[in-house]
Symmetry: none
DNA sequence: CATGAATGAGCCTTCATTCAT
DNA sequence: AATGAATGAAGGCTCATTCAT
């Protein structure tokens, strides 16, 4: 493993664990066993290393499905599943890396966690109310659908925040409709 | 508007725009028109202000639906919609605030944006392939459902990263099933 | 107990425990249960309070012997003993208060402690060597006299540092002679 | 003289003159002619430099006697004298450095000085009273022995305050006895 | 008498980056 | 290619003190 690779490995370990700002160059070069000069020999800046680490984290191991151009024999479902299930473990690393605001701040992390839970529980309760009032199908698992609704919305907000969607409100509304078409008691 | 309120207003403006680490106390107190000492008279730390700003951003204006205990006359759908659509605008602020890693780093921001787009497009392409092969309903909007799939997964990862779900893989798989039950050509 | 007295009591508690610089006005007024304004109503500055606390610590309870002018019936030994033994307990408070340099600095405190011990042990060892070589009386307790020698010297340095003696080297040498006249094997 | 040495030299000059808290890093690096970053390249903290300076002040030049293991030809008296007289000049630096409480506070310094003098004078007066009443040998120099008594006690308090003695009262009493055995008129 | 919000200079420390060797 | 001493701006935060109320 040469210098560049050792530095990348350090980044892969430190950024997810401590975030961008929580990781100093000193940490990186110490773990990698290179000098500061050595670091700048391989990377232009700390940021460049971070970008490289994000890249590896999100992509490592699933470039193949994307590259596939010809209609595949495998089902779309299978392929999509593969495309997204593989990153599950990497995903936490990724968010940990990028969600820098909460690092080192138990106060903030806890508060955000509480807020998310509050959303999920409120939604779940409303779904159960809907069941009681004959608006929502009795057969659905309110906790699961609550998670699904909140996940969808949070995910959409997230995507929109990183790179603006053209018409986020419209998109959200249509995704919302998709969900309600399934869980509403009287199908249209 | 007294000192504390002016500081909060500054935080509400600066954190979403420049992230936690990108916003210095100097920026905050200058904008608020108070002294550094004044800041620490009202808040214990920069972090405490950040937590307060996160709170306001995510909660301001929609505590009411949660508080409602008695079965409401309004439909669950309507209420859930209200619960989550109101925060749409605030949400971007929120993610911008918390997604600190990308602040001040155009390289990284762009790369993450590219990666998300790549996911969405790959998924969309696979859905179209599925339509061609008779696996996926012809009537669905592949772009919308691709966005919905990616949003759901990203949102779930996000929730899991902030506060671990009990069985994230199982939950993800069941949400995935929910989706495929709708878009698969042959209903079960 | 009025305001001034409550503040003094706080100082008496905090300065010995945390030193001058380790004790903030905030600590003082909080413990005393007065406002900052209240503090400055009773004392001109933090320093003035410190001086008042030093005063009380070193003098409380033994002004009497000093005031006594007429030849007393009690023996000088008894009186000197009373003069200096009473402050034993206060003394630690006093030094703790004034030895500010080591507060909050375990490194420094430990090092100084080591150095003192090293002095005492070295001296003790030399005395024992002296006994073996017939220079020092066999009957003396080397550990005790080592402590006595070091105490005398440290104390002299200390006095000299706070307010310069006229001829410290001469004084030290004569005190040293006083000691050796007692412990040397062959009395002159 | 390299960076580290220049910084140490600055510490050796500034800490004794202005105390730990009275000396700012700015002072140190300015005098040493290095940058703040440079300082932290050589020392972990201001405290570490302080510890290093204490070390040099108290030990420079007299490690040798301590190292000597084999019975020496020189007399114990000579060696002890060397061990402790050398530090006389350094001692003032040392106490000045560590007695931070009085720095910048003429009020306090003066008061402490007064108190010490008061002790010495009171003791001297009592000794003279003892001479008049036939309790104390006429031949002793009351001023010198007063200084010796106060030095011994202050030194003992000091040692005890920095690192507690096992039985300070007992030790004090025995040292006191040692002194009185010499100065009391009627030997027992 | 008493309050406590406000001050702002100053504190120690960290940081990514540079460059002579 | 590699080193690591040096940089110095900027960081968050504390402090004794003041003063309008």
């Amino acid at each position: 493993m040469d210098g560049r690779e050792k530095i990348l490995a350090s980044g892969l370990e430190l950024f997810p664990a401590k975030g961008f700002h929580g990781t100093s160059l000193r940490d990186i070069v110490r773990l990698a066993g290179v000098s500061k000069g050595g670091f700048y020999h391989h990377f232009e800046s700390k940021e460049e290393l971070f970008a490289a680490v994000v890249e590896r984290t999100l992509f490592a191991g699933n470039e193949q499905p994307a590259a596939e151009e010809s209609p595949s024999a495998r089902s779309a479902e299978k392929q999509i599943e593969e495309l997204f299930f593989a990153p599950l473990r990497r995903a936490r690393s990724y968010y940990a890396m990028v969600f820098d605001g909460q690092k080192g701040s138990e106060i903030v992390r806890k508060r955000i966690s509480e807020i998310f839970h509050h959303h999920i529980e409120t939604c779940s309760k409303l779904l159960r109310q809907g069941q009681e009032q004959g608006e929502v199908r009795d057969s659905i698992d309110c906790d699961l659908w609550s998670l699904q609704i909140v996940s969808t919305l949070e995910g959409c907000f997230l995507l929109h925040s990183v790179s603006p969607l053209e018409n986020p409100e419209e998109s959200l509304r249509r995704m919302f409709d998709n969900i309600w078409r399934v869980i509403r008691k009287v199908d249209i």
